[in-house]
Amino acid sequence: MPQLNNETKHLEAIVKSAPLEEIPTNVLVVGVGGQGVIMISKVLAALCQEQGFDVKQSEVHGMAKRGGSVFSHVRFGRQVFSPTIPKGDADILVALEWAEGLRWLPYLKPEKGIFIGDTQRIVPPFACRDRRRFAASGYVQESVDQVIRLVPNSSAMDAVAMARELGVPKAANTILLGALSTTLNFEEAAWKSVIARFVPPKTVDANLQAFDSGRAWIRNFDRQADSAMEAGTALDSGAWPMEQDQTWVEINTAWCKSCDICVKLCPERCLALDDQQLVQLIKPEACTGCRVCERLCPDFAINIHTPAFPELRP
């Protein structure tokens, strides 16, 4: 559930009031490979240049591949020297992936920085140290709700879902661009003309639609925040439901012939033969429900039940 801190209405006012010409504005765009981080920063950089600013854009993406960490620094002002944004000096942080957003939060200006985050979670394989279903992973545990409370000027939106609803699932980045546009003092038409140049010709309309919906989302959210504040109620918690590992291993010893295949091939070593040479589950807590034992048992003596079908439980 997208969430906006009650204190962060009218995001655009903060930046627009700053003396853009004198001090460079720092925008940090982060995400993982394949999401369109570079597209956002390129559009922004091109726009700023068109508007007569000095622009510096530096990025890391070569090593990232699809799914790897990608970030892009965009700095613009009357004159910009350093290509990168120092820690704690970013005016705006746009995150296309939730964990990446949190990783870069320290770069945001304390109290003043604006955070626009997509709640999409892309969990890298190495974050899964435990093979059980729904097991806690190395991925960030902080919920949207918690983050929003920590960062005063923040908005978290599920841009991927919005894009999917629009029928253009790849345009999540343009939606975020729309959200970003509300924080900077450029004309809507100027944004759109740049976007139209940067996206594939066939997708111009779809991307402009996505851009509009990003802008609309921010405006709408500001209104919601207003009314919520007036009513004195908190918005819904944005926490992800953490499902419990409820795998149940059903062992039918009457069919077991002690061949030992399950015991030797279980990756978690959860099974053993008992003193009657029949299979038993010795470490239920370690079972990941991977079904290797079930599928390689020539005697069909093991059945794995998962929470999806609780009616199969005894």
């Binding site: 009457a254 069919w255 077991c256 012939k257 002690s258 061949c259 030992d260 295949i261 015991v263 030797k264 091939l265 599928r295 390689l296 048992c297 020539p298 005697d299 069909f300 003596a301 059945n303 998962t306 999806a308 079908f309 199969l312």
Partner: protein, 281 residues
């Protein structure tokens, strides 16, 4: 969707549980092959009533009896002949043949090549455990060289049949091979085979642990299953067989697939053309 049906698959729904535990030896690969077959049947949503399993004689032949379907345990080497009759008489049935290396390649070799040639819509699963397990472990057409059996006390010296090359050469419109350890891949292969219109020959490399494995000191059940992986090239989906008489160096997956007209369809089209020809003349 796939996830959902996977989770709902409980093999016991497709088994005649009253006959269990089954007769097969501990660690016998045929049980795993049976699971893959029933899993495929489950995912294809083939009704039990419309499923007919025709099997031959031997360990492979006995596996059919455990399936909750119409099961026909025929004579040695002949399941393909029975299945041909059954399928022609009842095209509405999904007829699957379970046979073994001896059953299919030795005593039933003639039926195999002609079933391949005809291309009737049957699915033939040949469970290859390289031996005649039920009779005590004699040499079979797929026993590899230097392996000991009760009839090759000094090791096998006869050339080995490459069943897939044989089926392919005889004209089967789909030929595939998989190891039992790759249960999921095997399930998918069987699914593809059943869905295929025409004769499908699938060689399933199974383990005879108690007789063949013991005699040749191939390790215990788990070791034999694991060793399958080391010996077969699983990444060669669609590969050509490189050395026909060295089946240890062979590919798995779909080896041959073409859209040659199915037997009954060919018969129908042919008769149609003849009838219209007569009308014109």
């Amino acid at each position: 969707m796939i996830e959902e049906s996977r989770q709902k698959f409980d093999i016991r729904n497709n088994l005649r549980t009253e006959l269990f535990p089954h007769f097969m030896c501990p660690g016998c690969g045929h049980g795993i092959a049976l699971r893959a077959l029933l899993w495929a049947v489950h995912e294809l949503e083939i009704s039990k009533d419309q499923l007919a399993i025709v099997s031959g004689i031997g360990c492979s032949g006995r596996t059919g009896a455990y399936i909750d379907a119409t099961t026909i345990h025929t004579t040695h080497g002949r399941p393909l002949a029975y299945a041909t009759g059954l399928k022609l008489a009842r095209p509405d049935l999904e007829v699957i043949v379970i046979t073994g290396d001896g059953d299919c390649l030795a005593i039933g070799g003639n039926h195999l090549i002609h079933a391949c040639r005809r291309n009737l819509n049957l699915t033939c699963l040949m469970l290859n455990n390289e031996t005649y397990g039920m009779t005590g472990g004699q040499v079979s057409p797929t026993t590899r060289n230097e392996r000991f059996t009760t009839t090759t006390p000094l090791g096998n010296y006869e050339p080995v049949f490459d069943a897939c090359a044989l089926a392919s050469g005889a004209g089967a419109s789909m030929v595939g091979r998989e190891i039992t350890m790759h249960v999921t891949a095997l399930k998918d292969l069987i699914k593809e085979g059943i869905s295929h219109q025409g004769f499908t020959f699938l060689e399933i490399l199974s383990d005879c642990t108690e007789i063949y494995g013991r005699k040749n000191e191939l390790g215990e059940s788990a070791e034999m299953v694991l060793s399958q992986k080391a010996e077969y090239r699983s990444d060669s989906y669609g590969n050509q067989v490189e050395e026909p008489f060295q089946p240890r160096n062979i590919g798995t997956g779909v080896l041959t697939k073409n859209d040659r007209t199915e037997y009954m369809e060919a018969c129908r089209l042919h008769n149609q053309s003849k009838q219209s020809g007569t009308a014109n003349s």
